[in-house]
């Protein structure tokens, strides 16, 4: 891998940008999907509406969404903001359903016990329901993270710079080292994000570790 040895600085810079373009939507999307998912899980009439409309957004192919963003946002096509907004929309579309289903899966008797103790509304959400829904939500988050990394690389076609540049340039100039480095870097970044989420989930759910230890 001489190519990598010669160009590792570029790779790191691009990786940083890639992390930014994939990560920010992940965080923002996650934060937005929590209240939306909560509404969908709490008021069952809203569930089909919310889920179907976000599902619709998820149906739209990524490249198409990137391209259409300038019309919606009034930005130039090269602007990374297009990518960030589009990726956020994707992340939300994916996670709203996961959050809603995760919250719905919290057993009724636990919810009622919490309410009887005086937990209501947002406090109950934060203190009881979300932690218990964490495994399901975390699984969805992992899927979103890995998908995001892959989708963002496509943005190179629009001129938005990140690891996808290695892929495009490697292809155009037939430099296998560059192409393979690009692919490997994306995979590594995706796996790294995945590991961070898994680790974060373990930190947030110590009771599950106790269960595992007992079994």
């Amino acid at each position: 891998m001489t190519w990598l040895a010669d160009n590792w600085q570029t790779v790191l810079t691009l990786a940083g940008r890639h992390l930014y373009l994939a990560g920010v939507p992940l965080v923002v999307g996650f934060l937005v999907s929590i209240p939306l998912g909560w509404v969908a899980s709490r008021w069952s009439r809203s569930y089909p509406v919310i889920i179907t409309s976000t599902g619709l957004l998820y149906t739209i192919p990524s490249l198409a969404l990137f391209v259409v963003m300038p019309i919606v946002l009034g930005t130039r096509i090269l602007d990374p903001v297009n990518v960030i907004v589009a990726m956020t929309i994707y992340t939300v579309a994916l996670l709203v359903r996961t959050v809603a289903d995760g919250l719905n899966a919290v057993p009724d008797d636990i919810e009622q016990a919490a309410t009887a103790m005086g937990y209501r509304g947002v406090r109950r959400l934060l203190g009881v329901e979300l932690p218990l829904a964490a495994p399901v939500i975390s699984a969805g988050l992992r899927v979103a993270a890995v998908s995001n990394v892959s989708i963002v690389s496509v943005a190179s076609i629009l001129g938005v710079s990140q690891l996808g540049d290695l892929l495009l340039d490697g292809y155009n100039r037939v430099i296998w080292g560059e192409l393979l480095t690009g692919i490997a870097s994306c995979i590594l970044l995706a796996l790294a994000l995945d590991a961070v989420i898994v680790g974060g989930t373990r930190v947030v759910t110590p009771w599950l570790r106790a269960q595992e230890a007992r079994a």
Binding site: T59, I60, V68, A139, W176
Partner: protein, 252 residues
């Protein structure tokens, strides 16, 4: 900007010929169909087998991990590797179809497996107990009951392919992606946006068609859409199957 995009759509010249919307649309549909069918030939029997026998479950997790590979990178790599080996125009389509089919396998496999897995164990036990052979249990009980998740996986696969086929235009594949790629290369935004809108509409329409098929094909006993009588907690089952599963959470 919107005006020029609309103009692109309404120009009749853009609808005819090899580069016309009609042709590109048909190409896109054709490639999608081919890739999905190829993937199905592999993924569905495999998924049925893993779900029915319960063996080699790791195959499903492994297939799901393919998600970490950047699709653009895969397209480029396969194109560079196989392209020179294939004569003529096929050099542009074969690598693409191959990658498309490969990417359609994980959702189809995961969906098929999850569908069979989710069948009520009591129903499975009863099926064996009343005297169905292994094949009969699969055909008469597991598959019909697994259909909601299987169709979910199928719809996921279709969307995955439609999306990737769009990007595959960059390695020479025809279809609606051409408008995006050519438009970007030429700086012709109306073409780019027009292509994007077409792809988006195609994706939504296809998904809608298969959602409709799903509703007809899945037994009312499963969806909760009953003729008369109450449906017990059918809400989540009905909506569960109503949209393509983006992740099919059962593995990993």
């Amino acid at each position: 900007m919107i005006g020029s995009v609309l103009a692109w759509f309404t120009d009749p010249a853009n609808w005819q010929g090899e580069d016309g919307i009609a042709n590109r649309l048909l190409q896109h549909l054709g490639y999608t169909a081919m890739a999905v069918v190829l993937a199905a030939l592999v993924a569905i029997p495999l998924g049925l087998w893993v779900g029915h026998t319960g063996r080699m479950r790791w195959l499903v997790s492994f297939a799901n991990s393919v998600r970490a590979v950047p699709t653009l990178g895969l397209l480029f790599a396969v194109s560079l590797w196989l392209g020179p080996k294939i004569p003529g125009d096929l050099a542009f389509t074969v690598p693409s179809i191959l990658v498309l089919a490969l990417l359609a396998i994980p959702p189809l496999l995961a969906g098929t497996y999850a569908g069979i897995e989710a069948v009520d164990p009591a129903a499975r036990d009863a099926a064996r107990g009343v005297g169905m052979t292994s094949g009969q249990v699969l055909r008469q009980v597991e598959v019909p009951n697994g259909l909601p998740l299987m169709m979910s996986g199928f719809r996921s696969a279709v969307l995955q392919v439609v999306a990737t086929a769009t990007v595959a235009a960059i390695i020479g594949l025809g279809g609606l992606g051409r408008y995006l790629i050519d438009g970007i290369a030429l700086g012709d935004y109306p073409q780019t946006a027009g292509g994007a809108i077409l792809v988006a509409v195609l994706a939504v329409v296809l998904d809608g068609v298969f959602a409709f098929v799903q509703r007809r094909v899945v037994s009312p006993g499963l969806t909760g859409r009953h003729v008369g009588g109450r449906g017990k907690d059918s809400r989540s089952v009905a909506v569960e199957a109503d949209r393509p599963s983006a992740d099919v959470r059962s593995s990993a």
